[in-house]
């Protein structure tokens, strides 16, 4: 199966935690460009993300986001705190989290991986590369079957 999202025909939710409106627009543009079925849920800062995650966690019926694109530098709670929140929760831990940040500092990368980030991708500074990166991320995670864990959990319930 080449593309889980495309083939299932289902609309998948992608959680985009990004304080910069410009970067959010860029990301959303390329996601939309990649597939219409991926619905982008953008959150503006750490506090918003926390609120959303708690709400998702508390409602078992609600579908979990398929993928989280998480910026690190966020007002109020930073990306690592959000990451820890996700990976520290039984219900949320299975959601693949891709850190998508401008920082290429080893310290940030290490900390993210330590907190069980599933990927760490640096935002590209080349003109055409942004779209390719988004496309490749999405392609890669479409190959992954993490959502099955979430479904199993849900079907069990």
């Amino acid at each position: 199966m080449k593309n889980a999202v495309k083939e299932s025909g289902r609309s998948e939710q992608l959680l985009l935690v990004e304080d910069s409106d410009d970067h959010a627009e860029l990301t959303e543009f390329h996601i939309t460009d990649y597939s219409q079925r991926i619905r982008v849920n953008r959150l503006h800062d750490g506090a918003e993300a926390m609120t959303y995650l708690e709400q998702v966690e508390a409602s078992p019926q609600q579908r979990l986001p398929w993928l989280v694109l998480l910026d690190l530098k966020l007002p109020k709670y930073d990306g690592l705190e959000i990451l820890a929140r996700i990976k520290g929760s039984d219900r949320l831990a299975g959601i693949p989290v891709v850190i998508f940040s401008t920082s290429n500092s080893g310290k940030d990368i290490k900390r993210a991986l330590k907190n069980y980030a599933n990927s760490y991708i640096v935002k590209p500074m080349e003109a055409d590369r942004y779209g390719e990166v988004i496309s490749e991320i999405l392609q890669y995670w479409e190959l992954n079957q993490h959502h099955l864990v979430q479904d199993t959990g849900r079907s069990d319930a």
Binding site: S20, D22, F29, D33, S103, S105, D128
Partner: protein, 575 residues
């Protein structure tokens, strides 16, 4: 004791006092030894002198005996040399007594005087003996002989005159001659044997001679004149004999009774004297022995106790040096390892150790300063790192944005959506604008970092009243009021930076603290022992408690607000 030494006596004095005490102790020991030994030496001299005296005095006995022996030789044999020898021995003994007398002490002087007295008496008696003996000799050898010869001649003359005519008378005269012979014989026997019976016999014969003379003189034909002459010679003869006998008895008495007793007493006194001196010598010897023992014990005791004293004293002295020195060494070791917590031992005196202590104090101060500067450096490194991180993020972010939009623009353009593409150009521009603004801010920041850091005493009341005045227009336009307390302190700080702190705070307030009733910033101060705290309070929404630490991070902001440098926060912490 140690603490007292450390507190009161400087190091040099402690060391010197150690030397001095040791010196004094050695001197005292030497002095005590000398004193004791000089007594001993004195005693020893006394003993030697005494034994010399005893020898001398004991020789008196021998001399006395020899004198008496010589005297007896003289008496019984008539050797003049022996008599002279008595005198020589006497002179020798007097000299000996003089020698002792000149040096002796009072308790024996009586005995010596007694001895001398007897010696004098003895010699005087001997002189008398010599006189008596000479007289006796003169009587015996001259007078006695003379009278005997005269009597004999007179009688023989009478016999010759009779010419054998009157047998009876001649016989009587012959009887007289015979008597005379017997008198003489008895006399000489007496002088030879000293037997009193011969004197008796001689006087008997004299008496008989007298009787013969009486008989003859009663005869009518007797020559009365001649007989009277014979009788008179006989009387002289008798008296010279008797005198000689008495002189003999006299000197015999003197030699045997008087002189013997004097010799005995002299010898006795000499013995007593020598035993007295010997006793004293013995006493001194005993005392010497006792003294030697006592001195030995005393010196041993004093040496040991003084050495112990020196030992304790030097122990205390050295402890008084080593104890603070060890403490200092510990301190320096810790200081050398960079510790700024090392305890500086208490040491009040300004001696070498005091200097070292002070040095340790400065060392510690340097360590504290070093520590602080190291912390400062670390913090500034961290800040720099964060700054660089932040800056790189903040710089990257517009690049990502602009490059991203350029990519979209290209894509839209390649899809022929030119209008959409052109519309996105604004986004690129605004991203680049933001970047250029960031670069300007960075330049401004670097300018601030290079500012003059000179500190001086600042009266915050004065500073802030000037500040408020300069901000009047700005405050009025934004509807803010600034309330400044009137009891602000005078602090030691850099004026321009301090001023900037308040400018930034005011800017932040004007930017974030909006209130419908009109904004307000209040500034007041409070202090404890070490610090002044300057409080700035606005009536804006405030910062939630959980973010209080975070706000001191560089470029941190809580709200999605237009990007603004937040350097004001930085300074507010520093102040």
């Amino acid at each position: 004791m140690i603490s007292l030494l450390i507190r009161k006596v400087s190091l040099k004095k402690r060391i010197y006092s150690g030397y001095i005490v040791t010196g004094i102790v050695a001197f005292v020991i030497a002095l005590l030894s000398y004193g004791s030994l000089s007594t001993l030496v004195g005693d020893f001299h006394s003993v030697v002198t005494f034994s010399r005296y005893v020898e001398e005095i004991m020789s008196f006995s021998a001399h006395m005996s020899e004198m008496q022996r010589q005297a007896l030789i003289y008496i019984y044999s008539g050797h003049n040399a022996a008599g002279d020898r008595v005198g020589e021995i006497y002179v020798g003994m007097l000299e000996g007594i003089g020698r002792i007398q000149s040096k002796e002490k009072s308790d024996t002087i009586d005995s010596i005087k007694e001895t001398e007295k007897y010696l004098h008496a003895y010699y005087n008696t001997f002189q008398e003996v010599r006189t008596q003996r000479k007289l006796q000799q003169r009587l015996v050898r001259r007078e006695f002989r003379k009278h005997a010869t005269k009597a004999q001649l007179l009688i023989e003359e009478r016999i010759a005159a009779l010419q054998g005519n009157d047998i009876d008378r001649t016989l009587q005269y012959y009887r007289m001659l015979n008597f005379l012979l017997q008198i003489e014989k008895n006399a000489y026997r007496y002088f030879d044997s000293l037997d009193g019976s011969f004197v008796h016999a001689a006087t008997e014969r004299i008496q008989e001679t007298r009787e013969v003379i009486d008989i003859l003189s009663k005869q009518p034909q007797g020559n009365q004149r001649r007989l009277a002459e014979i009788a008179s010679v006989l009387t002289c003869y008798e008296s010279s004999f008797l005198e000689a006998v008495q002189r003999t008895r006299g000197y015999l008495y003197l030699v045997n009774v008087v002189m013997s007793a004097q010799v005995y007493e002299t010898i006795y006194q000499a013995k007593r004297l020598s035993s007295m001196i010997a006793g004293r010598s013995e006493y001194i010897q005993e005392r010497m022995l006792e003294n030697i023992t006592t001195i030995f014990h005393f010196l041993l005791f004093s040496a040991i106790s003084l050495l112990l004293f020196i030992g304790f004293f030097s122990f205390f002295i050295s402890r008084s040096i080593t104890v603070p020195l060890n403490r200092l060494t510990q301190t320096f070791r810790r200081l050398a390892s960079g510790s700024s917590e090392a305890e500086i031992p208490e040491y009040v005196l300004r001696d070498e150790l005091g200097e070292l202590t002070i040095a340790a104090g400065s060392f510690k101060q340097r360590n504290i300063a070093l520590e602080e500067s190291r912390k400062e450096l670390k913090r500034s490194n961290e800040e720099l790192e964060q700054f660089v991180y932040t800056v790189s993020h903040d710089l990257k972010s517009p690049i990502v944005t602009s490059m991203g939009f350029i990519g979209i623009i290209r894509k839209l353009a390649s899809q022929g959506k030119y209008e959409q593409a052109v519309a996105k150009l604004d986004r690129v521009a605004s991203a680049n604008e933001r970047m250029s603004q960031l670069i300007r801010d960075l330049l401004e920041l670097s300018r601030v970092g290079r500012m003059d850091m000179a500190k001086k005493l600042l009266d915050l009341n004065k500073l802030l009243s000037n500040f408020a005045e300069s901000q009047t227009i700005r405050l009025r336009s934004s509807g803010f009021s600034l309330l400044i307390a009137s009891d602000l302190p005078v602090i030691y700080a850099n004026e321009s930076r301090t001023l900037q702190v308040f400018e930034n705070i005011l800017s932040n307030t004007l930017k974030y603290a909006h209130n419908e009733e009109g904004g307000m910033l209040e500034i007041h101060a409070a202090g404890d022992e070490d610090w002044w705290y300057i409080f700035c309070k606005d009536n804006g929404p405030g910062i939630p408690l959980e973010y209080h630490e975070k706000i001191f991070g560089l470029f941190y902001r809580l709200m999605q607000m237009p990007k603004e440098p937040a350097s004001g926060w930085l300074w507010s912490k520093r102040s």
